[in-house]
Structures are given as C-alpha cells and as structure tokens.
C-alpha cells in the first residue's frame, strides 16, 4: 500500500509561551520553537505500521518554507520512505482550501492508495482532510482511532462523542484524518535525524504541481483572519485560592451545588 501522510510544522504549544503580537495579526514568533503537529505524528506512525504489515511505501508531504524540511526529516527518521516539500512564495498565506488544493495536486502527481492527515493541527481548523477528500472525490473518515487493512478496503474505527466507538468499512483509495491515541508514535532522536540528513527531498513549486497560482496563497484566500487575541477572563470564572485542602473542599462544594456530584 502506498501511503501519503500530510504533515505540518507548528509552534510547539508545550514548549512555548504563546503571546499575541502587538498588532494582533499573529502570535509573537521570535522565540518560538517548532515541531511536527502532534496529530500528524500519530498519522505517520500509523502509516509506518500499515506499511510494515502489508508492504508498500510511506511518503510525507508538507507545505511551508525551507524550514519545514526539518519536520519531513523527523518523519523520515521515524521510518517514512520519502518526503515532498511543497514550497513557493505564491503558496504563502493559503487558507484551508488553498492548502487542500495544493495537496490534491500532490496526490494526483503521485499514485497513492491511502492519504492520512492529522485530525487537526495545533494552530489549525481541522478542515483540510475533509476538503481534500471532497476535491479528490475520495471517501473520507475523520477522527480515526483504528485502522485495519482488509484486502482492497479498510476497516476504520472512529471515536464518537461520549466514549462510543464506531466501526466502518471504507474502500480505497480514501482519506483518513487520524486521532491521537491510535498508536504510540516511536521516538526520534538526533541520531535518527542525522541518518536521513543527506536524503534528497524534492521541492514542488507551482510548475511541478500544475496549480493555478490564483487559487492558492493570499491570491486565492477566501477566508481572511481579521483579529487575533487572548480572550478576556469572563464572568463566572473564579480562581480557587488557599491550601490544597481548602481548594479541594471548595471545589467539592461547588460541584455538589451545580449538580456535578451527587
């Protein structure tokens, strides 16, 4: 099975103190460290496990600037066979649809049986997987937490609100958005990344992909960000103070009063 996994480089929420910049257009990016979007790591791990079971290849693709190459290397160190960097000035500022348009071109340029995305990104809207499937006219399953290969089809499990589990059969080729917890992504150390440091990663621009530049980037942007801010602490939010015992006692009292505890 030939699998394409779409990954994204995001500011690491665990390792940054995120602050909005003065103009309110974006976050302060000077002191940020970046990593692979957490959901995408699970998607790549799942792809590697499927490949190891049934054979095939795993390709990882990302859209971004030159620095995005580092996330491709990290995923290749995990075990992906090859990487594709989609990068061009014209692609900058793409909205979700623009990203899906570019990914569609990547899918059509290659030959893939299965396309995986993360269920969402730390800084995203969880929209690209669905749009990509629709554009490709492929079947789509979201929030997938279990994948089994059954001949020409897959059995996929989906997490439903309330802790329920749903199982579906889905025909190939298809797009799946992967939920965290589906597996335990393997560790990638510096040594692993160094091993793939010299592997050639092709960069695709508009010409390679045959994408109409007016449909992507800021030119094709149909969703525009207007503002960016930290919400003001609203009414009804209360910080409990005092010793641990006091806080626990107060919390229990509130929970009882509001019917959370019976």
């Amino acid at each position: 099975m030939d699998i394409l996994v779409c990954v994204k480089r995001v500011p690491d929420t665990a390792e940054n103190e995120i602050e909005v910049n003065k103009s309110g257009s974006d976050i302060e990016r000077d002191d940020l460290v970046y990593s692979v979007n957490e959901w995408d790591n699970y998607a790549v791990e799942e792809a590697i496990q499927i490949r190891d079971n049934v054979g095939g290849t795993v390709t990882v693709v990302t859209i971004g600037d030159d620095e995005s190459e580092e996330v491709l290397r990290r995923e290749m160190a995990m075990g992906a066979d090859s990487g594709i960097l989609v990068s061009d000035k014209a692609f900058e500022g793409s909205d979700g649809k623009g990203i899906a348009t570019l990914l569609k071109a990547v899918v059509e340029k290659g030959k893939y049986d299965l396309i995986l995305t993360g269920a969402q990104a730390d800084d995203g809207a969880g929209q690209v997987g669905g749009m990509l499937a629709a554009m490709l006219d492929y079947p789509y399953a979201s929030l997938v937490n279990k994948v089994e290969v059954k001949g020409d089809a897959l059995t996929v499990g989906r997490e439903i609100e309330g802790g329920n589990q749903e199982m579906n059969e889905i025909s190939l080729p298809c797009v799946l958005s992967i939920q965290t917890g589906i597996n335990e992504p393997r560790y990638v150390g510096i040594r692993g990344i160094r091993k793939v440091a010299s592997v050639e990663i092709p960069t695709y621009g508009p010409g390679d992909l045959g994408v109409d530049a007016s449909l992507v980037g800021t030119a094709g942007e149909k969703v525009k960000r207007l503002d960016y801010f930290v919400p003001v602490l609203g009414e009804g939010a209360e910080m409990l103070e005092g010793s641990t015992e006091d806080i626990i006692a107060k919390l229990i009292e509130y929970l009882k009063a509001k019917g959370g505890l019976k």
């Binding site: 690491d12 665990a14 390792e15 040594r191 160094r194």
Partner: protein
C-alpha cells in the same frame, strides 16, 4: 595415638623422612584390584573424562564472550589486584548479610584450602605415595590439620546453608512466579555435592588412619574434633575388610563427585566458583560514569555506528556476559533495589539470571555439535521495556554485589538500544524533545533560566559569568533554575557562596541541562549535544572551579564530562568553609530531630558521605539521627532528572518508603542535598499523610537559614 607410634612419628618428622616410605595397612586405590580389574583404571579414566567434558563445556561457555562487544578491563591493574584481594579473597562484602556471609566465608576458605587436597587426591589415585611439592615437611602436617578443620567447617556450613534454604527461607531467595521455578532444588543439590566431597575425603583418610592404628603402624595426626577424627573414632571397631572396602569406595566417590562437580559448575549459578575471581578482577573501577557506546569508538565517530546499544545478547560487552555467568543468585541486589521494593517490574537479580539463561539456551552444550541459535531481540522476549525503564540508576545493586556484577551500564546499554529503535515511552518523549529544543525537560524558555535570581535577598548578587568574569561557576541545572519550589535551593546556594566569600557567577541562558539522566536514559546523542554546549560555555567562562547543589549535575560534570575545572558539591563547600572559618553558622533554635538522606549521586556514586553530615553538625545544637539505611545503603527517593517524568507501574512510591524509614528513625525533618530528592520527599510526605509530622528541607536551605 599411642606413645610408641607418636615416637615413631616424631622421629620421622625430625629426620625429614618422607611419607612415601611409610607403611600402610590398607591397599591404596592405585594398587587395588576389584574383580580382577585394577581400580587404577578408574583413577585414570575419571580425571581424563572429567577434564575433557569440562574443557568442552568451558569452550562453549567462552564462545559468546568472544563474539561480544569489546570492553576495556585491562587498565588500572594495581587497583584491580587490590579489588581481588579485598572483595574476592577477603570476601569484604559478604558480611553485609551476617549469617549468609559467614557461612559463605567458611565455604569459600574451605574450598581454597581443600583445593590442594583434592588435586593431590586425584594424583594419589595413580601414585599412592604422591605428596604435593612443598607439602612433605612441617608445612604438610600443618596443612593436614588445617584441611581437616576446613572440611569439618564446610560440612557444618553446608548444613546451616541447607537449613536456611529449607527452613528459614530468606525472602531474597524466593523466585516470583513470572521468573520461573524455585531455585532451592539446585542449591540443595550442590550443598549435597559439597557435603559428599567433605565426607568422602574424610572417610578416605579416616579408614586408613584407623587401619594403621589397629595394625600398630605409623599414624597420621588427626585434628581433634574434626570430621576425620570422628570418623576414625567410629571406625576403630570396624574390621580391616570393611575399612579396606570403605577406603576404596570413599576414594572413588570423592573422585567421581569432584569431577562431576567440576563439570556441573558451568551449568548453573555455581559457575561463580570459577568465574568470580575473574569477575572481581575485571569489575568496575571508576564509578559514577557511564560506559561509552562502544569501546574504541570516539565520541565524534559515533555517527558511523550502524546500531546503538544492546539489542541482542551479543551486543553486551564480554565483561557483562561474564557478569551473567557469575551471578550466584544470592538476591542481595534485588533485596536492595528500590524499584523491586515498590513493585516495579524490575529485579536486578533476574536481569542476570535471564541473561545467563539466554546464553545457555543460545549456546547449547547438548547435544554435542548443536548449532548456536540465532539471537533474537532481547526487548520483548527476555526483557520488557518497563523493566528496563524502571531503574533509577541508584547503584544500590552494584554496591551490594559480593562479586562485582554491574547493572547500570547494562541498563543504559539496553536503553540505548531501545532509543535507537524508537521504543521510548510517550511520557519520556516530551521531556527529551523539550531538552533538544530548549535545553531543559520542561520546555521553558532559555531566557528565563536565570529568573530565580530575582528572588535573592538584598546584598546577594549573582554574576552573569558570560559577561563578567568570576573565579567560580555555579552550575544551577534545570530543576533548580525552573521549578518554583526548587529555586529556593538556588537562592540558598547563592547566599552561602556569597557569605563564604566566593567570587561566583552563573551561565544563565547559556546553561543547558547537564544531562546526567539524558545519558542514563540512553539518549546518547542528545547527551553529547548538551555536553558539548555546556563544555564550551564553561570553558569560555574562564571559571577555575565549578560548584553545584545538584548531585546529578555534580556527578555528570565530574564523571562523564572531560576537561572541565574541578567540580564540588555545595555540601563540600560548606564543610570546607566552616572548617576554614569562612562560614559561621548559628545554633539550632528548635527541638526538631533531623535525619540526613544520602542522595545516590552524592553518596554511592561519589563517596560524599561525611561532608553533608559535617555541614549539619556545624549547626550546633541540631539533633541528628541516622536512618537504618544510610551511607552506602541509602534508599533511593524515586529518582531524578527524566525519572520525574516516567510513569512507572508500581505499588507505591519509593519516597513513601523512605519517609517511613525516617519516621521509624525518630526524625521529623529529612534533610536532603539534592533537588530531586526534595521533590520526591515532599510529595511522599503528602502521599504518606505525614504532613505536619514530617518535613523535608535541602541542606543548602537549612544552612542558609543558619548563616551567622
């Protein structure tokens, strides 16, 4: 012995006459004929076959050692010889377990003494008048008395050992169900073999002496109340025929048992009888450090290695395989292992036993010519991931092992293998990645590394050594820099250094995690990264000495880094400054009872036991008690560095056990000298429900409170 024979005996010694001239009432095994078969044939065949089988087994046992990874164990020979004399010959570590230790010492020295007798007996089966060279005079007679008592002592020791195995059943001998069957049968079988050797040896001699005495011939002096002495007494009434029969039977039972035992040794835990001498000679000499990924490969050439760490059994170094062979299954390691004590899935004893079983299985000695088995990955078959992550590297097992078996380097090598395969628990992946990105396991901003200095009292300033030169570098390390509670240790340390007149500064944002646990958790390349960055920053600072209040930083800077200025721990600085008069401390104003908890990386790994106690005792009027487990038997608090992030399977916390030990000692304040110990102790006090009755404080905090 009658006067006549004593006289004859005395004269013979005086004349220096040799025993071969003496007459004997019994026919020796070398001259005996049984049903027309001269028994000398057995005297010849038993040793030849025995030695041949032994050589065959030993050759196969050595095969994996030849295929194993290289090791560096031929350095520091004088120290190694000293270790052999102290730990092997003088059995230095044995009495740490009183009864078992004494029993072992008796058997050990019995074996050493009787080895000469056993060898000469083998030859006597061929040449009846044989005497070991040098043993034909007074020495021989002294030796005979010695070996009579040795045999008696060993027999008594065997009985005590068997009684312990069968009746007392010390918990440390038990085999948990998941590790297979009980080992008592093998232990008893061997005790039986040893007893057989002692009895048959004594019987062989007693029959001859009894027969000679009855015939009025020369009689060898027998040590009174020894086994052989009792036997002779019992046999005086026996007929010559019976004595002759017993004499021959005893001889061949001894001969057979001796060679059977020799061949049996390399088949199980009694291999240590042969290997322990070598194991002690080759044991770890330096402490605190971790072995390189592969001996002979420089740190800057690590990228060339195909694979990292131990993945299959032959990836261990030959010394580590020798460790597996040498394990005597005494269980002292696991009895002292904190991970084992709290029910984590780790028992160091079974790291060795399972390793040995794997070697025995993969290099079969039976049937003859059987092919070596292909080695499978150890993780998932022999060892489990959680088992290997459970170790806090506290070193209690290595401190206790009477024959110098190592565990930390093996655990680290196995972790290196797991890291290389990506098998790292999610709970550890985050802090490792954070260290890679930010230089600390919490992923906090580099620029905030020196923020703790803002809480310093007026008059205490900390230099930024990257901008302002200073004589001494205070290496703060991550937890003290970033953890709200532990920043107080940094502040206390700075106050002590300032008061003690030190010209010191910190690296601030240029400091990275020192990496003690990065290395011990198997992430060698990440360790090399932080090591390189820290080394450059430290050397560039121009500091001529380093001080730290974090024993993990102390250990790694001192033992795993190279080319740095000398490193001291704050407890050493305090002890020295108090002694020189540079620091003066107020007397204690409370009635609390203090106990000092030895951090593993200060005590066991670096032998700093006295300075922290001296620092405490410098506070006059401070009441201090010792816990039962203190000094080199200190009990790990739960582990530091990355171990804080690991989520182990365990029944309870190590810290809780430790806090309970402090309570048992009558203390109500636990003084530690390590930020990680303090985290674990404070958590444990809450978990144990001892808030209000027990508190924990760092040595630096306590001393800072008492600065005069």
């Amino acid at each position: 012995m009658d006067i006549h024979s004593f006289f004859k005996y005395y004269i013979k010694i005086r004349k220096g006459e040799q025993e071969q001239n003496m007459e004997n009432a019994l026919i020796a095994p070398a001259q005996y004929v049984f049903l027309f078969i001269p028994t000398i044939i057995f005297s010849l065949l038993i040793p030849i076959i025995g030695v041949a089988i032994f050589a065959y087994i030993m050759a196969l046992r050595m095969a994996p050692l030849a295929k194993a990874a290289p090791d560096k164990r031929f350095d520091q020979i004088p120290q190694r010889i000293f270790n052999v004399l102290k730990i092997w010959l003088a059995q230095y570590r044995q009495p740490r377990y009183r009864t078992a230790g004494i029993v072992h010492i008796v058997i050990f020295f019995g074996f050493l003494i009787l080895s000469i007798r056993s060898c000469s007996l083998v030859i006597i089966g061929l040449a009846p008048d044989f005497v070991m060279p040098g043993f034909d005079g007074v020495i021989g007679h002294i030796y005979n008395v010695l070996k009579d008592y040795a045999a008696t002592g060993v027999l008594i020791a065997c009985c005590i050992a068997a009684w312990r195995r069968v009746v007392v059943k010390p918990a440390r001998y038990a085999v948990p169900a998941k590790y297979g069957k009980d080992h008592t049968a093998e232990a008893l079988f061997v005790l039986g073999l040893i007893s057989t050797l002692m009895i048959s040896e004594s019987l062989f001699e007693a029959t001859e002496v009894a027969a000679n005495a009855k015939a009025g011939l020369h009689v060898e002096f027998l040590a009174p109340l020894s086994l052989v002495w009792f036997f002779r007494l019992m046999l005086m009434a026996a007929s010559e025929g019976v004595l002759q029969g017993l004499h021959i039977i005893a001889y061949y039972i001894h001969d057979l048992t001796f060679f059977f035992f020799l061949c049996f040794l390399p088949l199980g835990k009694h291999f240590h009888v042969i290997t322990s001498l070598f194991n002690v000679f080759f044991m770890r000499v330096r402490r605190g450090n971790i072995k390189p990924v592969r001996y002979g490969i420089d740190e800057d050439a690590l990228d060339q290695l195909e694979s990292f760490g131990v993945k299959k059994i032959e990836d261990f170094t030959w010394k580590h395989l020798l460790d597996f062979y040498s394990c005597a299954d005494c269980g002292r390691c696991s009895d002292n292992c904190p991970a084992n004590a709290v029910g984590r899935p780790l028992s160091p004893r079974f790291i060795s036993i399972k390793g040995r079983d794997t070697l025995f299985k993969n290099y079969p000695i039976y049937p003859y010519g059987a092919a070596f088995k292909k080695s499978e990955p150890l993780i998932g078959s022999v060892y489990e991931e959680d088992e290997i992550w459970s170790c806090t590297t506290c070193g209690a097992c290595e401190q206790e092992c009477p024959i110098g078996i190592e565990y930390i380097d093996k655990i680290v090598d196995l972790r290196r293998g797991m890291v290389d395969e990506g098998l790292v628990p999610q709970s550890l992946q985050k802090p490792l990645k954070a260290i890679e990105k930010r230089g600390n396991p919490w992923g906090k901003m580099e620029k905030k590394r020196a923020e703790w200095t803002s809480g310093l009292p007026e008059g205490v300033t900390v230099k930024d050594i990257t901008k302002e030169p200073a004589d001494m570098l205070y290496f703060v390390d991550s937890i003290t820099s970033y953890d709200d509670r532990m920043q107080s240790i940094g502040q206390a340390t700075a106050m002590i250094l300032a008061k003690g007149g030190a010209d010191f500064g910190i690296l601030g944002k240029d400091e990275k995690d020192a990496g003690n646990e990065i290395r011990r958790f198997g992430e060698e390349m990440l360790f090399q990264n932080v090591k390189q960055m820290n080394t450059e920053a430290i050397l560039e600072s121009g500091a001529t000495r380093i001080v730290t209040a974090d024993p993990h930083a102390y250990n790694v800077l001192k033992n795993d880094y190279t080319g740095l200025p000398p490193v001291t721990h704050i407890s050493q600085f305090i002890a020295q400054s108090v002694k020189s008069g540079a620091l003066r401390l107020k007397s204690a104003q409370d009635n609390k009872v203090y106990t000092y908890h030895d951090p593993c990386y200060l005590g066991r790994h670096n032998d700093v036991y006295d300075d922290p106690r001296a620092a405490l005792d410098a506070i006059s009027g401070l009441k201090r008690v010792e816990m039962e487990r203190c000094g080199d038997r200190s009990f790990c608090c739960g582990g530091g560095g990355l171990m804080l992030f690991y989520e182990p399977e365990e029944e309870q916390r190590m810290g809780v056990l430790r806090v309970e030990m402090a309570a048992k000692a009558g203390a109500n304040v636990i003084v530690t000298a390590c930020p990680f110990c303090l985290v674990n102790m404070e958590d444990a006090i809450k978990v144990a429900g001892l808030e209000g009755q027990m508190e924990a404080i760092d040595l630096s905090e306590l001393v800072a409170q008492h600065l005069a």
